[in-house]
Amino acid sequence: MTRADYLIVLFAALLLPYLYVSQWSSSEVGTTAAIMNGDKTIAVSLAHDHTLTIDGALGPTIIKIEAGKIRFATSPCLGKQCIHSGWLQQTGEFAACLPNRISVAVLGDAPRFDSINF
């Protein structure tokens, strides 16, 4: 092999760990969340704690983001199933308030799971 060949092989070998981490490793914890309100979707970062008020079909739903997790905090619906869903953190997790037509899905760069069963 020539010196150029060695350099290319070395470059490719160094590239492998980066590609493995970037394309194949599993990141369980999500980085952002998609909040769907009817037909509209907004993306929010989970990096900073904050509280969002979303006006749904029935009224305002309050969504909390805290320590990289997100949850329905209050909702005008009767059953409160959305609130019972608790904190969502892992990529692919989602919860919904059907009466108020609002859903939350956790997104990440490298989702570990293609779908979540519950």
């Binding site: 092999m1 020539t2 060949d5 290319i8 092989v9 490719a12 070998a13 590239l15 492998l16 590609l19 493995y20 394309q23 194949w24 369980e28 769907m36 997790k69 619906c77 009767l78 059953g79 199933q81 019972h84 608790g86 904190w87 969502l88 953190q89 892992q90 692919g92 997790e93 989602f94 919904a96 059907l98 009466p99 037509r101 859903s103 899905a105 570990r112 799971f113 293609d114 779908s115 979540i116 069963n117 519950f118």
Partner: protein, 346 residues
């Protein structure tokens, strides 16, 4: 030799980075079937993926309209006629649907019992939202238990449906979602879709794979944030979980969930969740409910009778009971789990 090494290394590098010509994952979320439905389609053509989502939405909406237990539907009309003691004319699709449910109910020894619609309604679960109000009285429950409605009371022909028990009120809440997903997946296959996941409110059927690797499914922890276990789908499988956390209400410090034991008339006790893997979503749906009600003692026998051999039951002590086949498939995502592998012959 030097080119062999060079090509091998570069092949590995590009192989890991993924092929740019690979089909892409397309996802859509729909509000239908009384829940949030997540559709994942792997396809090169975005328009084809969008058509696939429309197919799923259409199929689920059709089943929902046909079998809705408390909004005006063909099913509520059937229930009205059964309460009057009348015979109902049915079509071929209705016959197949009820026949499959009747067979599953029989194999489950009526743990899966779609004939207890009146009991489910008495508990207030025939509504989109059950408020935190008082549970029914013991007297009211006893009155319904006395007539003991079951799918064995139904007389079914290819064109007629009748019942010798006027207390039979059909509610396919533990079967309809699975049936609807099966219908949607069948239509997807007919239209040429080979790789997809239809996830309706956490219960799913997945076909094919994701660019040469299996679809990966996480099973959410029933009592804590995160995932308790994971598995990879083999070709075409459904994963259904029935849990006491899905629908419930609280009253006077007591929690009442929606999985009613047809024998006691009360929410089934002792189980937190049951997960079933089966090719048919309808079978997985019915079995998850039946095995939840059967509980930690009886579920292996009922599972064998229902033809399901990949089951995980989590009891109130958070012990994981599973069949040997499930234990081989599943990867636990928690530490210090207490496992009970049940039955050597599945």
């Amino acid at each position: 030799m030097k080119w062999l090494w060079l090509n091998l290394t570069l092949l590995l590098a590009f192989g890991l980075s993924g092929c740019s010509e690979s089909p892409q994952v397309h996802q859509a979320k729909l509000f239908t079937l009384g829940t949030l439905v997540d559709v994942t389609v792997l396809h090169r053509d975005e328009a084809a993926a969008a058509r696939a989502v429309e197919i799923v939405e259409s199929e689920l909406a059709t089943v929902n309209a046909q079998w809705h237990a408390w909004r005006d539907s063909p099913l509520t009309q059937i229930n009205q006629q059964l309460a009057l003691g009348n015979t109902v004319a049915i079509d071929a699709a209705t016959y197949r649907f009820i026949q499959q449910a009747q067979t599953l109910a029989s194999h489950s020894e009526q743990r899966f019992n779609p004939a207890i619609g009146a009991l489910v309604a008495l508990w207030g679960f025939h509504s989109d939202e059950r408020p935190d109000s008082a549970p029914p009285t013991q007297e009211a429950i006893n009155a319904l238990l006395k007539s003991a409605p079951s799918m064995a009371d139904i007389t079914l022909t290819e064109t007629t449906l009748s019942s010798n028990n006027r207390a039979v009120q059909l509610d396919f809440g533990a079967f309809g979602k699975g049936y609807a997903i099966d219908q949607a997946v069948a239509r997807l296959k007919q239209s040429g879709i080979e790789n997809a996941i239809v996830n309706a409110g956490g219960d799913l059927r997945a076909i094919g794979s994701k660019n040469e690797r299996p679809w990966r499914i996480g099973i959410r922890h029933p009592t804590a944030a995160g995932v308790i276990a994971s598995l990879e789908i083999i070709d075409d499988e459904s994963v259904f979980t029935s849990g006491n956390y899905e629908r419930f209400f609280d009253f006077s410090g007591q929690r009442y969930h929606h999985i009613i034991d047809p024998r006691s008339g009360y929410p089934a006790q002792g189980t937190v969740s049951v997960t079933v893997i089966h090719r048919s979503a309808a079978v997985a749906d019915a079995a998850a409910t039946a095995l939840f009600i059967a509980g930690a003692e009886q579920w292996p026998r009922i599972a064998r009778q229902m033809g399901v051999d990949e089951v995980m039951l989590i009891d109130e002590q958070l012990t994981l009971h599973m069949t040997p086949k499930m234990a081989q498939r599943i990867q636990l995502e928690i530490d210090d789990a207490e496992l009970n592998i049940v039955g050597g012959e599945q």
